[in-house]
Subunit: 105 residues, 2 copies
Amino acid sequence: MIANTPKPPYYAVIFTSQRTSIDDGYTEMSGKMENLAKLQDGFLGIESAREHVGISISYWNSLEDIIKWKNNVEHAFAAEKGKEQWYQNYKVRICKIEKDYAFEK
Amino acid sequence: MIANTPKPPYYAVIFTSQRTSIDDGYTEMSGKMENLAKLQDGFLGIESAREHVGISISYWNSLEDIIKWKNNVEHAFAAEKGKEQWYQNYKVRICKIEKDYAFEK
């Protein structure tokens, strides 16, 4: 689904990753973290796809909301497990959406 | 590949889309546009993946570089064909990357 975000400005976390071959609960944790993110203050939406790389973009009202989500205890635990097991490498980019436009048939 | 972008600030175009079932040159045009983007001034990198939605993020030095790429004649032609045939819907978000960090095993 394309996230139904409000009028800019708002913020995003772009998480681009390459997985290891280890599953060990990855799929379950991934779904759990997405559901948990949706419950956080300031959460606006999420878009994800994976091929050679995985891209997951979560949208937020403010930078403060992003920092609170980063520091959420369950999320921080999942992030640690991600570094130990699930991710070969990743990059996190914090950005401000300044403009957007859409097309629909 | 995870794009090897420089130290922030820099800019990004997040293109999230859902395809129609029509191919008619889509795959070829998609590769052609990626190669053409790489030749533009200010291009910094690109990351793409498609599952239920497609996400393609191109990174740029400045907003001016993004506008020039949007107005590139071949790109504008491809975009028109995209609206006519290839995309059911899409959203384009222009954003400023303010911070990033990376992890590598």
